[in-house]
């Protein structure tokens, strides 16, 4: 049988980027489809990564550009997969390029349009902590560097159009449908983060100084909305006492998910150390059930967090957070299960280490691809032990967190991306050598 020596990768986070690079370098023409305006995914949002403490975007950006320039990779950003037919070696895929209302070949990314746009909206990239305009790029290193009009929030005032020197704005742009022929498909759609509104005792959404860990990452990031200064949302004051609450929505059969999200203990320890590096006089408490700092170097890092940085670890799951209506300071009530006493802690800022969960559109995508998902919405491997990245459909493989919490962190995602590329190469490149 003639097989298409090409592949489709769905999702442009670190897993999808690495899978695309491994496939393209192996000689396969690769289409990388990303539904948002830029590739980069979650890793682009993070401040620094353990253990090298490289700034996350700094090590990711060269890979994003490599994808963009690679002669064998075709980037289809702001695009969605609508239909998939066929079988391994011969898939037909229908992709819709959503209208950006900006012509990609004309936009020079100067940003004059955004400077003039009168609409300010919470920026999704900053987890709502910063603002963007209705014509925007999500972050400065976005790839491709093409502006996008958020039509739902656009006033149709036409200012962007009138100030654009390149004449790139086209508010009449229509969706474009493409048909691709590929031999194999990699699903790398990543995760959503749990929004803990249901856990009312923590007051998320009600108390301004209760934030999620993703929001904290943006506050820590030098390119974030506060320029890397950790400021309390209520009054901009620099918090002195900060509490991390672990397992918010994970290991939680009442409000969230029964699984362990695998990464929260590790990032909490990392963020705690970063906070201590920013301000050594701050006091950081991590409230945990089991401290799950497994994986290369993490236990040693957690030991350092305690010994060298003085991060405090409390084995407890706080029952309630109360807010002082005047100062917006927070009081946590908890049982220290090792000391076996009930205590309280006054904190300036509380960070909820929230669960990672499937993408909201995972059911829809699974239907399009004809693959199975589990009761939560994560991809099901055809054999979780022997074939951990294969789906039941030959020729469709997965990598990254869409495979569920068994993924874990960035290196796990990168390895899975390699494994996914290897699986497709085994099918599609068998005769090539």
């Amino acid at each position: 049988m003639m097989v298409e020596k090409s592949a489709l990768v769905i999702g442009g986070g670190i897993a999808g980027i690495q899978a695309s690079l491994d496939l393209a370098n192996r000689g396969l023409k690769t289409y990388l489809v990303e539904k948002s305006p830029s590739i980069g995914g979650r890793m682009a949002q993070l401040d620094k990564t353990f253990p090298t403490m490289d700034c996350s975007i700094c090590i990711l950006a060269p890979k994003m550009i490599e994808c963009f320039r690679h002669p064998k990779i075709e980037l289809l950003t702001y695009s969605e997969v609508k239909e998939v037919h066929g079988s391994a070696g011969d898939f037909t895929v229908k992709v819709v390029k959503k209208p950006r209302y900006v012509q990609a070949d004309k936009c020079v990314g100067c940003g004059t349009c955004a400077d003039h746009c009168p609409v300010e909206l919470p920026n999704e990239f900053d987890s709502g902590m910063g603002v963007r305009k209705a014509i925007y790029i999500p972050f400065p290193q976005a790839v491709p560097r093409v502006y996008t009009v958020d039509k739902d929030n656009c006033l149709d005032c036409g200012l962007c159009n009138s100030v654009c020197n390149a004449k790139a704005v086209d508010l009449e742009q229509q969706p474009v449908e493409l048909e691709l022929h590929v031999g194999g498909i990699v699903v790398a759609t990543g995760f959503d983060t749990y929004e803990p509104f249901r856990i009312t005792s923590y007051g998320y959404g009600k108390y301004k100084n209760v934030v999620t860990a993703m929001q904290l990452e943006r506050l820590l990031s030098a390119s974030g909305p506060t320029g890397g200064r950790i400021m309390r949302p209520s009054d901009g004051r620099i918090p002195r006492t900060i509490a991390f609450l672990q397992c918010v929505g994970s290991r939680d059969q009442r409000f969230g998910y029964p699984y362990c999200s695998s990464i929260c203990c590790k990032y909490a320890v990392k963020d705690a150390v970063l906070i201590k590096e920013h301000r050594p006089d701050s006091e950081v408490h991590i409230f945990y059930i089991d401290l799950r700092v497994f994986g290369k170097g993490f236990q040693e890092f957690a030991n350092r967090a305690k010994k060298e940085y003085g991060v405090k670890f409390v084995r407890s799951s706080p029952g309630e957070i109360r807010e002082d209506p005047e100062t917006k300071d927070l009081t946590l009530w908890y049982e220290d299960t090792l000391a076996r006493t009930v205590r309280s802690l006054k904190a300036d800022l509380v960070v909820l280490s929230t669960a990672l969960m499937p993408r909201s559109d995972s059911v829809e995508l699974a239907k399009i691809l004809g693959i199975d998902i589990d009761r939560f919405g994560f991809l099901v491997a055809s054999d979780p032990v022997r074939h951990p990245v294969d789906t039941q459909v030959p020729g469709i493989v997965g990598c990254g967190y869409c495979l569920g919490p068994r993924t874990g962190d960035i290196p796990d995602s990168v390895m899975q991306a390699g494994a996914a590329a290897a699986r497709l190469s085994e099918i599609l490149m068998a005769e090539s050598v």
């Binding site: 963009f68 010994k307 220290d336 090792l338 050598v433």
Partner: protein, 587 residues
């Protein structure tokens, strides 16, 4: 040499640099330096906009040298070099000045001094750039065959993946049998399948694949060569085998740690066994129905911790006793890391016992239960089967003594109940970690790859290159890089295969031009370079030194020590370095 026309691009890096260093001032300063034909600031030079602006400036201003003042060459030099190449400039005509890690980050509280230092760094980079020369990168052929070291699940999986893509694979295993540590396991968590159902089909797939040659009972004697052209010498019995391969997959695995004699009474009382030994007893039917089995987690792992026990919260007499025990405890032998798989392994064996003998009690002493991912379900299953989990203090090892009726008495402090508890049990199983093998040191030396502080092989970058070694052409699969369970080992094996296949499929590879260059007129053939070179890149031939470019890593040891100054480093000539030094001194 044509007159240098240097372009200088100073990056704000958002506020990383621009928030401290006065970038516009540095740009203006750069314009005053000799041979600088263009200078500009960029918000992010590494963004698509920044890179296009470099290319445009090269074309518009006829630049023939480029300096980017930004972050570290470790992450960004390849990107900027290829940008120069796209604009038709030899990539060695690029120089990077690090004004972030070496300036703005470390001088964030002294913006004015940092700006002066940034100017100094830029002046030095420009001075060197003036003397840069175009270089040709040596191209090497890559043999389309691989050697896989280790015949456990990872090595086998990597071999099968490569072979099914059409590459020839030589699989080397030191034991007479394939299968590694997986073979010793009875069941696999969390599916509780027989391990033989996992490993046997893979062994069959490997042995029946005509692209794979298997050498069991074989030891590696020597490895030489370089990416694309490795030469390995094996010994199998009396037979010597020589292999020429393009890439190497390192899948040498890990050992199961055995506690020293006397630790937890291991080796003293025969009913104290490791978890792996318990597993073998269960599989071979050598365990009689027990009344109670006690498992102790983190034996020989997570050593050197002082964790979170607030002794002040305990009653004074109790605290004093615990404290004296902590201080009295012998310095533990073992490893500081968490071995990741032991919690699930213990639960697996606990479930096996409970399913076989529902009346038996199983207690697990743990300090943090790390049933990550969906293994949380596995933990729940064990609790539903009434396996008891008791949180003990790692720093206070439980006391184990003999009791009547061939029982063992274990005394441990239960932190959640706040009491010391005694267990009378038939068997104590110690959950010991996976640990690196002593032979890894030899292997690392032979392959010229580093080991990490935990003793496992070290990856090229812990986040983004988790299966690449620091030496080109060598990839790591499975537990050789650190503890992993079977699915994780398989994933890393496939990933290593993917990376190796890319090199071999492309058949040719360009290597870094930064190599030693011998001036044979000056060389006296003393052989000092051959002796000193850590990579074996110098050979004395016909009384003169010769560099094997693909082996040379450009470290410069030879050039520094050559008594006749016959060796210069390409791309790091004395002239370039001295120009930099002079620029540093100049004001």
């Amino acid at each position: 040499m044509e007159e240098p026309r240097i372009g200088v691009f100073v990056c704000h890096c958002g506020i990383n640099i621009g928030g401290v260093v006065n970038v516009p001032e540095v740009v203006e300063y750069a314009k005053t330096l000799p041979n600088v034909a263009w200078a500009e600031g960029n918000l992010y030079t590494c963004s698509e906009a920044g890179l296009s602006s470099i290319k445009d400036a090269i074309k518009k201003n006829g630049l023939n040298r480029v300096v980017v003042a930004s972050c570290t060459p470790r992450t960004h030099e390849p990107l900027f070099r290829s940008t120069c190449e796209e604009a038709g400039l030899n990539k060695y005509l690029f120089e990077m000045a690090n004004i972030r890690e070496q300036c703005s980050w470390v001088h964030s509280h002294e913006p004015e001094a940092a700006t002066v230092k940034a100017e100094d760094i830029v002046r030095m980079a420009v001075a060197r750039a003036r003397w840069l020369e175009p270089q040709d990168e040596p191209e090497v052929d890559v043999a389309d065959s691989a050697m896989v070291i280790g015949g456990g699940i990872s090595g086998l999986m990597a071999a099968v993946s490569l072979a099914s893509q059409g590459f020839k694979v030589h699989l080397v295993e030191k034991e007479p049998q394939l299968g590694g540590i997986t073979r010793r396991l009875g069941k696999i968590y969390p599916t509780l399948e027989d391990s033989s159902d996992i490993i046997d089909p893979v062994i069959k797939a490997a042995t029946s694949n005509e692209n794979i040659r298997i050498y069991t009972s074989a030891t590696l004697k020597d490895i030489s060569g370089y990416v694309g052209n490795f030469k390995a010498a094996l010994k199998r019995g009396t037979e010597e085998v020589k292999l020429d391969v393009g890439t190497i997959v390192l899948a040498s695995g890990a050992l199961n740690y055995e506690p020293p004699k006397g630790s937890f009474q291991y080796g003293v009382l025969d009913r104290v066994v490791t978890q792996l030994q318990l597993e073998e007893m269960l599989t071979q039917g050598k365990l009689a129905e027990p009344e109670r089995v006690l498992m102790i987690q983190c034996v020989g792992s997570r050593t050197g911790e002082v964790w979170t026990y607030e002794l002040s919260d305990m009653t004074q007499s109790f605290a004093a006793r615990l404290l004296s025990k902590i201080l009295g405890a012998k310095k533990e032998e073992g490893w500081p890391y968490c071995s990741k798989i032991c919690c699930m392994n213990a639960i697996k064996n606990a479930i096996r016992i409970k399913e076989q003998w529902p009346k038996a009690h199983v207690d697990i002493l743990f300090s943090d239960l790390r049933t990550y991912k969906e293994y949380e379900d596995f933990y729940r299953k064990a609790r539903a089967l009434e396996v008891k989990f008791i949180r003990y203090i790692r720093e206070i090892p439980p006391e184990i003594t003999e009791a009547p009726d061939k029982k063992l008495k274990v005394t441990a402090y239960d932190t959640l109940a706040g009491v010391e508890t005694e267990f009378l049990c038939d068997l104590v199983a110690l959950s010991t970690p996976l640990c690196p093998s002593k032979e890894d040191v030899m292997l690392a030396r032979m392959l010229k790859v580093p080991l990490g502080p935990d003793g496992f092989f070290m990856e090229a970058h812990p986040k983004l290159r988790p299966v690449d070694c620091q030496s080109d052409g060598i990839f790591i699969a499975g537990t050789a890089c650190g503890p992993k369970d079977i699915p994780e080992s398989i994933i890393s094996a496939k990933a290593a295969a993917a990376r190796a296949s890319i090199l071999m499929a492309n058949k040719k590879l360009k290597t870094e031009a930064l190599t030693a260059d011998v001036n044979t007129d000056l060389c006296i053939g003393c052989g000092l370079c051959e002796e000193l070179c850590p990579y074996g890149a110098h050979k004395i031939e016909n009384g003169k030194s010769k560099t094997i470019a693909a082996l040379c890593r450009g470290c410069g040891v030879c050039a520094a020590d050559c008594p006749r100054r016959a060796i210069t480093m390409r791309h790091y000539s004395d002239r370039q370095i001295l120009a930099q030094v002079e620029a540093m001194m100049a004001q």
